[in-house]
């Protein structure tokens, strides 16, 4: 049975008006991602890949075009509804980790569950479980500033999958890390993908992008190429 697309966007435009003039960050992007696949989106800065990532992550809405996430049209949703979609169906991994400095590692991981309305005991159990899966069980009570960059990003990965989302969006997840930590993080992400989660990796680094079997290149707000890597 052919996998169904979890992400389906058609004719997406995104236009900004920073002054009297209009800037078209995206100019009619068509793009779909199969459920359980792993896609790298690559492009230089200013290419529109960040804008695409914001729209895919439901952090922003397109000016025109449609976006179906898991069969649901999210391009016309209110902010309230989008918050719910982000909470249930999307896990984010950012370049800057974005952990809350005052909270311990496991409580950072538990944050999406708080907004899901999960009970405190259940939150703790699931968060500790997730943090153990990224190999940081012994660091669960540490605060972010007591962890290395690689460890912080692992906490962030645990936070991204703790809510069991269908899609994980990783925006330059290795951008702040040395090559050893970067390899480790990519391994964890691949591991998640093998577990059945759709993974979209946004990067400007060809080497990082090569971890994905499918590479989409963006230039000037349009898809320049979309190809499957030839595997040996």
């Amino acid at each position: 049975m052919a996998p169904s697309p979890v992400i389906e966007i058609e004719g997406i435009w995104k236009t900004y008006h920073p002054g009297d003039f209009a800037v078209h960050a995206l100019r009619g992007v068509d793009f779909s991602v199969d459920d359980g696949s792993f896609v790298a989106v690559m492009g230089p800065s200013g290419s529109g890949k960040s804008t695409l990532m914001h729209i895919l992550g439901c952090l922003d809405t397109p000016t025109s075009g449609t976006y179906h996430l898991g069969g649901q049209d999210v391009s016309t949703m209110t902010e309230q509804e989008l918050a719910r979609v982000r909470n249930r169906r999307i896990g984010f991994v950012f370049q800057g980790y974005n952990l809350l400095p005052r909270l311990s590692a496991w409580r950072n991981v538990a944050l999406p569950l708080v907004y899901m309305g999960v009970s405190p005991n259940e939150r703790r159990r699931r968060a500790l479980d997730a943090i153990a899966r990224v190999g940081l069980a012994d660091r669960a009570d540490h605060r972010p500033n007591e962890l290395s960059g690689g460890q912080q990003q692992r906490v962030a990965i645990a936070r991204a999958f703790v809510s069991n989302p269908s899609v994980i969006l990783a925006d330059e997840p290795t951008g702040n890390l040395d090559s050893i930590a970067a390899t480790e993080i990519l391994d964890f992400l691949r591991e998640l993908n093998r577990g059945g989660r759709t993974l979209v990796l946004i990067t400007h680094d060809r080497e990082v992008a090569s971890a994905a079997p499918r590479l989409v290149q963006i230039r000037d707000g349009q898809i320049a190429s979309d190809e499957m890597a030839v595997r040996a």
């Binding site: 914001h54 902010e79 909470n87 809350l100 005052r102 708080v114 907004y115 899901m116």
Partner: protein
């Protein structure tokens, strides 16, 4: 997000900036303490004035001379005329003409220096009649009061207030001793029971009472020997007060040959009038102080808003992240409102506690009592929380409106 989580997350954020939160709370706390203390002082003063006025005697009317108006039309002010006389007082005492009047005590007074042996004391010497004791609701600690015979015969006797007696004769009994007033030797025949402290400005324990005739003939040496400064009229009952008021007015108008009540040359004051005058003076003062205190509360509220705006700016990344993991705008708004109203609530509770400490300490520093009612205390806490909430609305809405992209981009 569940309410419990919103609350605990709010408190954690406040604890995360302990000193800053404390200082903001202090702003509200001082405002609330100031409000609750000024209102408490006002209420305390009001109740002490009320008790002082009721200590004047029950069912009392106070008749004072009206104002004089010179040929040029200059009003001399209340009490400047000497229109009340002993004859007026005698007429009021008639049961036939004024059935609602139980007793009448005319009184005239002057400030005079009394001498007893080597001690002397300046006090008000009051000339009056035996009914004074009943009308003013006072009693004797020892000795006796002067009689109608004493008044008729202008006897050289006096009854001293507790303060006056103590200053002239020390702790010993004054009865039987002699005091000298303006060269007249007066025999002390009694001492009044202390009336207690009075916040109305006059000391009811510092006076020397003499028969009104003795006063007119010997002590005052005035030019108008039959005029009196006040006539105290006691009604037979509280219900008879308005009857007594009417009888006094009618009789005095007739005696003074005045046709128009508007031209009356005397003023009748009732206790409730005295009380409302005193209360209104009090209320004005309390309002003024409470107004100043409210301004300080407003400043405290602006402090909350200021700190919340700083907090929103500072936690812009946190807000972005929370939104990315699923916080809806109203959940962010609620979180900041909880923080702002907690600042207000804690300030309110602290302010009430400080106010209670003040209510205990203040009466030891000055004589004014402070009354803090539970209603005022609860009201103050609610107001403080509301101030936190109101001044938190704008910062919280700003946080809620933040776009998650802009918030996350902020490096």
């Amino acid at each position: 997000m569940k309410l419990r989580d919103t609350l605990s997350s709010g408190f954690e954020a406040l604890l995360g900036h302990g000193l800053r939160s404390l200082l903001t709370i202090l702003g509200i706390l001082i405002g609330i303490a100031a409000v609750i203390l000024t209102v408490g002082l006002g209420e305390g003063a009001q109740s002490s004035v009320s008790s002082a006025i009721s200590s004047l005697g029950s069912n009392l009317l106070v008749v004072t001379p009206g104002s004089t108006t010179s040929a040029a039309g200059v009003n001399g002010g209340l009490g400047s005329a000497s229109t009340l006389t002993l004859a007026d007082a005698d007429a009021l005492e008639s049961k036939r003409v004024a059935p609602n009047i139980a007793s009448v005590a005319p009184s005239a007074q002057t400030i005079s220096t009394l001498t007893a042996g080597s001690s002397n004391w300046t006090t008000s010497v009051v000339g009056t009649t035996p009914s004074w004791l009943q009308v003013r609701d006072r009693s004797l600690a020892e000795g006796s009061f002067f009689t109608h015979q004493d008044v008729n015969g202008a006897a050289d006797v006096t009854v001293l207030g507790a303060t006056t007696a103590e200053n002239l004769f020390g702790v010993g009994s004054p009865v039987g001793q002699t005091v000298d007033a303006n060269g007249v030797a007066l025999t002390v025949i009694g001492e009044l029971t202390s009336a207690g402290s009075s916040s109305s400005g006059t000391n009811e324990d510092d006076m020397a009472l003499v028969p009104i005739t003795t006063y007119e003939e010997q002590v005052s040496g005035g030019t108008n020997p039959t005029s009196v400064s006040t006539i105290y009229v006691e009604a037979d009952s509280a219900a008879g007060l308005s009857g007594a008021y009417q009888e006094t007015t009618d009789l005095l108008l007739a005696l003074h040959h005045i046709n128009q009540p508007a031209n009356a040359d005397f003023t009748i004051t009732t206790q409730s009038q005295l009380q409302s005058t005193a209360n209104s003076v009090n209320r004005t003062l309390t309002d003024l102080l409470a107004g100043i205190a409210a301004i300080s509360l407003l400043v405290g509220g602006i402090g909350v808003m200021n700190i919340m705006l700083v907090s929103v700016t500072e936690r812009i990344r946190e807000i972005g992240l929370r939104k990315a993991v699923g916080a809806a705008p109203n959940e962010i708004r609620r979180q900041f409102l909880v923080e702002a109203s907690s600042l207000g609530l804690l300030g309110g509770i602290g302010g009430v506690l400080l106010g209670l400490v003040g209510a205990i300490v203040l009466p030891h520093l000055e004589s004014n009592p402070v009354t803090i009612s539970p209603t005022a205390a609860i009201g103050a806490v609610v107001v403080a929380m509301a101030i936190g909430l109101i001044f938190g609305v704008y910062p919280a809405s700003r946080a809620a409106r933040l776009s998650p992209i802009d918030a996350l981009r902020n490096e």
